[in-house]
Amino acid sequence: MISLILRRLGTAIPVLLAVITLTFVMVHSAPGGPFDEEKAVSPEVLVKLNERYNLNEPLVVQYFDYLGNVLQGDFGPSFRYPSRSVTELISIGLPITFELALYAILFALMLGIIAGVISSLRPNTAYDYVPMTIAMAGICIPSIVLGPSLTLIFGIQLNWLPVTGWGDIPGDKVLPTITLGTAYAAYCARLTRGGMLEILNQDFIRTARAKGLSEFRVVVVHALRGGLTPVIAFLGPAMAGLLAGSFVVETIFGIPGLGRFYVEAAFNRDYTMILGTSIFFSCLIISFNLLSDLVAASLNPKLRDQ
């Protein structure tokens, strides 16, 4: 197990360094400096600004300075909001994005596992086809369609739920959670069904049934443990997708989370903010992938030796 952790860290760290280097080079190779568009800036101020943001040093020096700062959790000041540091903005947005992603993944797991188990118990009957058809729809309807459509139906036409904000009015977390979680619920359902079908055909399940265990015990205690392995392996990539999905969902519902900060920074060409959030998101995604690998390995001893 420890050697697996070390091996995975061995790939994660070069990837992270590659990402930091790549984003840094990309941002710095952008045509023009960050202050070129501000016409009001006089040459003296420009010199000061360049000094403040360390833009006079050679790129290599800037790179290692930046790398040193990032390792200490300091992403520098935001270009657009000079009074705030990027780290500060991230710490404001992150809890909200995390909360949204957490609700979405819980929603997805609950709905997906239940639907997947139901359809795996009676394969190729209506109990199988109906949930799986809905799951196919859930996969094919993208969040950019689902979000506005739900808003139109439940927010505007029926007036049941609020359509913007996060934690301001009761119920305003419902639509964003569903919008973000639906596709993952669908994937979970399909993965659970596949995993369960494989397990339910095995001998130890027949033994468990032969022992006279209740169907509930057989399914929930014996089969689900193995049947959920694909779902757990999917959780890491799913978290990565959820974070990317939060860009869209936070934009649709006006949620002041990290995803929206990122999109806004992209629009404002707030380079330090883009750089900082890109690196931060990458760290998160890589960590989640690492974590899900480790969980999968601890559940399935066969994976440890690979």
Binding site: T11, T23, P142, V248, F281
Partner: protein, 285 residues
């Protein structure tokens, strides 16, 4: 193509057509492609033409799907949008296909250290969160369509190369390849005559399923305002415009959303159908 091969292909085709959902998907996508190709000839209006007297209006005889807030014909804009969306989907898939097939074939065929190094590179690239890099690219180098194709295509080849490699590795141990080698057929000919044609099935399936993924990515970016820019149109952009004004003008959201979702459905059904058709072992279930 010899008879055995063509009858296999025919069987696969029969299986594909007997799957009703795949058939529906195939017809829908084919229709869409034809419409997209001939759009400049058959579109009712110009994509930037504004009917200033009308402003936003619901579906009518003159404008079948209504007009947007600037008085532009929605059907026309959807047709032009489909061109961009489909083009991004198919071209980027082609890019991914070419890189992935070449990379995977070479790695699988060469084996040994070359293979280890090449697949290690794929492993490392897998770990990179590409959506973020693509957004960065769009921000820094402007919203350039060609760049978008290249960037997305360059990302999506990774899985393709893994699939091709495993295919090639199992194929290259089989007798007909070994005998070709023994007969002194050049490596290039073995790859192009024996390995690629035999590994093509799973590649086609994966490529079909890659197209909707890429279209989705393009729509995502355009929806965020980081992809295709007005006055050009793509489905993502139209859905974004629709979402902004849906309170008063529902049709601006509903029609592009329907068209886009149906396309994604169809492509996924075709992919699933192809998988069942090309691999008789799995069968539809």
């Amino acid at each position: 193509m010899n008879t055995a091969e063509s009858s296999l292909a025919k069987k696969a085709f029969d299986r594909l057509v007997s799957n009703k959902l795949s058939l529906f998907g195939g017809i829908y996508v084919l229709l869409l492609i034809v419409l997209a190709i001939f759009t400049p000839l058959i579109a009712p209006y110009d994509y930037a033409y504004q009917d200033l007297n009308l402003g936003p209006s619901g579906p009518s005889a003159e404008h079948l799907l209504g007009t947007d807030t600037l008085g532009r014909d929605l059907l026309t804009r959807m047709m032009y949008g489909s061109r961009i969306s489909l083009m991004v989907g198919f071209l980027a898939t082609m890019v991914a296909l070419v890189i992935g097939v070449l990379w995977g074939t070479i790695a699988g065929f060469a084996g040994g250290r070359t293979d280890a190094v090449m697949m290690r590179i794929v492993d490392v690239l897998y770990g990179i969160p590409f959506i973020i890099l693509i957004i960065l690219l769009m921000v820094i180098f402007g919203r350039n369509l060609v760049l978008l194709f290249m960037a997305i295509g360059a990302v999506e080849w990774l899985t393709m190369s893994r699939i091709v490699r495993s295919q090639v590795m199992s194929l290259s141990q089989q007798e007909f390849v070994l005998s070709a080698e023994a007969m002194g057929v050049s490596k290039k000919d073995i790859i192009s005559r024996h390995l690629i044609p035999n590994a093509i099935g799973p590649v086609i399936v994966y490529a079909t399923l890659t197209v909707p993924q890429i279209m989705l990515l393009e729509a995502f970016l355009s929806f965020l305002g980081l992809g295709v820019q007005a006055p050009m149109s793509s489905w993502g952009l139209l859905i974004r415009d629709g979402a902004v004004s849906m309170e008063e003008y529902w049709w601006l959201l509903i029609f592009p959303s329907l068209a886009f979702s149906l396309t994604l459905f169809s492509l996924n059904f075709i992919g699933d159908g192809l998988r069942d058709a090309l691999d008789p072992r799995t069968g539809p279930n």
